[in-house]
């Protein structure tokens, strides 16, 4: 009895202290180290620690025990360009990040940069910074063709839709349906894309959503046919665009600049398009035409 009272009092005291010391709104939450830029650290140590997603084809995934994907190729080429600015050899060290840790590890300084098909949303931009977009996609809903062909987003009003946990889809799809005045969707958060797609095949949910290229690739890799007249299909109109950026620590201008330069160099030299064609070109599993999307290639000089 006495023991329990002691615990209760301590817990309450801790909670009250926690509330009292919590800073006011709009205070700087994660003061980045302005003393030394991440670029200086990378130069000095001769290595760059990169958070990389390894569970979402075609961006970063495991194949035969090797890490492959668009993000992986891009970052390898980027570091090659980075070496020019650092004027020394830089070793790549990958750390696996999940959708839960891809932002917070950048904040906490665990990793120097993060590439995990991270859509540059405002909420995220408030916590870390992003380079210029290096990938473009749209978010539609994957559905079972047997339950109706050529479905539109409006068909999913009031239905159950699966999302990937800790993706930005939750807010985006709810806001889209609200703006259109349609019935709210019920969302179910899955731990992995493949779990959600399996649930869709098993008819447990009406649709599954994330970046189109990820859901199509994941479904095809699991052996499901994707297309308007196949087993699974994606809605023609998306509810949200996606711009993938490299996550870098907040307020670290030097580091962000040099990564932007590396991306521009890739674009200007044509290497970017080569890599893009490899993963999203007509011969790839899920072609995503570049269309009018361009990286802002700043002019040198």
């Amino acid at each position: 009895m006495k023991n329990l009272a002691v615990v209760l009092v301590t817990a309450i005291v801790f909670l009250v202290i926690g509330i009292l010391v919590s800073p006011k709104k709009n205070a700087i939450r994660y003061p980045a180290s302005v003393v030394q830029s991440t670029f200086e650290v990378v130069k000095k140590q001769g290595r760059v620690i990169i958070g990389i997603g390894q569970e979402a084809a075609p961006f970063g995934y495991m194949e035969n025990g090797k890490l492959v994907g668009f993000d992986v190729d891009i970052v390898r080429a980027m570091v090659k360009k980075l070496e020019k600015y650092a004027a020394k050899e830089i070793k790549i060290e990958f750390r696996p990040v999940s959708d839960e840790t891809r932002i917070s590890w950048v904040q906490s300084g665990q990793i120097h940069m993060s590439l995990c098909h991270t859509n540059n949303t405002r909420k995220r931009d408030a916590n870390i910074d992003f380079t210029v977009p290096y990938g473009w996609d749209a978010k539609g809903v994957l559905y079972n063709v047997s339950k109706g062909k050529n479905r539109n987003l409006t068909d999913f009003a009031g239905k159950v839709i699966g999302i990937k946990r800790s993706s930005s889809s939750e807010g985006e799809i709810q806001a889209y349906f609200k703006n259109k005045g349609w019935d709210e969707v019920t969302l179910k958060a899955y731990d992995s894309h493949i779990a959600g797609i399996q649930a869709l095949v098993d008819d447990q949910i009406d649709g599954f959503t994330d970046d189109n290229s990820i859901i199509i690739n994941t479904a095809m890799r699991a052996g499901h046919k994707v297309g308007p007249n196949e087993v699974l299909a994606v809605t023609a109109t998306p509810y949200s665009p996606a711009f993938f950026g490299v996550g870098v620590p907040e307020n670290d201008s030097d580091w962000r600049d040099v990564l932007n330069y590396s991306l521009h160099d890739l674009w200007n030299s044509g290497e970017f398009l080569e890599i893009y064609q490899k993963w999203f070109g007509p011969d790839s599993m899920c072609p995503v035409p570049l269309g009018s999307n361009r990286m802002e290639p700043y002019v040198e000089g």
């Binding site: 615990v7 817990a11 399996q198 008819d203």
Partner: protein, 235 residues
């Protein structure tokens, strides 16, 4: 630490409050179901039929030795496919929450059955004899003489297991539940997915679980003391 922004701001505080309600709901449902299941299995375990005892023993050894995380994952992710494979029909939609309750109850009921069995076997055989001499039927003896006394003996152990059962509800975090069905830890994870701050909502969830555990153990202690008094009186 910034509780003001990540815990006590809308919509996050609303999510957490809904999560607390779901934690309580899951706890209530699993407690009832596992008590019922546990009592049935304990009845089998102490019955005179050999098959009955074997069934009870298998049940207890199966579900006590399966860890909850893979068990729940299996129930939610593999059941639809297994069901279709066996029956050729579609697994009913929207069962995830019920499967969660079922999975937690299967685990807890195996422990409860074991606790109740030990309580029943700890009773002196004279009690049942006396009741039989008085002309009570076997079922009546069980219900009115054996079970209430056994329950009094095992109350502390039972209470500990039920508090453990409440803590187990946090494993729902690994399951794909509709957002409004997520319990408090799941909601904390949902906030973390939006704000990238795990520490604050998690500390809130920890405080909730801690205070619930303390509250329940106070209740159990009180009940156990009364039960102890009754046991002493009956001697």
């Amino acid at each position: 630490m910034n509780f003001r922004e990540y815990v006590f701001a809308e919509p996050y505080f609303g999510w957490l409050c809904a999560g607390v309600q779901m934690t309580l709901l899951i706890t209530a449902l699993t407690t009832i179901l596992s008590l019922v299941l546990g009592a049935v299995v304990a009845a089998f375990a102490t019955s005179s039929s050999r098959t009955g005892r074997l069934v009870a023993k298998t049940y207890v050894s199966l579900f006590r030795n399966l860890p909850l995380v893979p068990l729940l994952l299996f129930l939610v992710f593999a059941m639809p496919g297994v069901f279709r494979f066996l029956t050729g029909r579609r697994f009913p939609v929207g069962m995830d929450f019920l499967l969660l309750v079922l999975g937690l109850s299967l685990n807890t009921s195996a422990y409860i059955a074991e606790i109740l069995r030990s309580g029943i076997q700890a009773l002196p055989a004279e009690h049942a004899f006396a009741a039989r001499v008085l002309g009570l039927k076997p079922l009546a003896i069980r219900i009115s003489v054996v079970y209430p006394q056994a329950l009094r003996i095992v109350l502390p152990a039972l209470g500990t297991r039920l508090i453990h059962n409440m803590k187990n509800s946090a494993i729902a975090l690994v399951l794909p539940l509709p957002l409004e069905y997520m319990e408090v830890v799941g909601q904390a994870g949902r906030i973390a997915g939006q704000t990238f701050a795990w520490a604050e909502p998690l500390l809130f969830a920890a405080a909730v679980h801690l205070s619930l555990a303390i509250l329940f153990s106070l209740i159990v202690n009180k009940l156990a003391r009364e039960a102890q008094r009754k046991i002493e009186v009956s001697r």
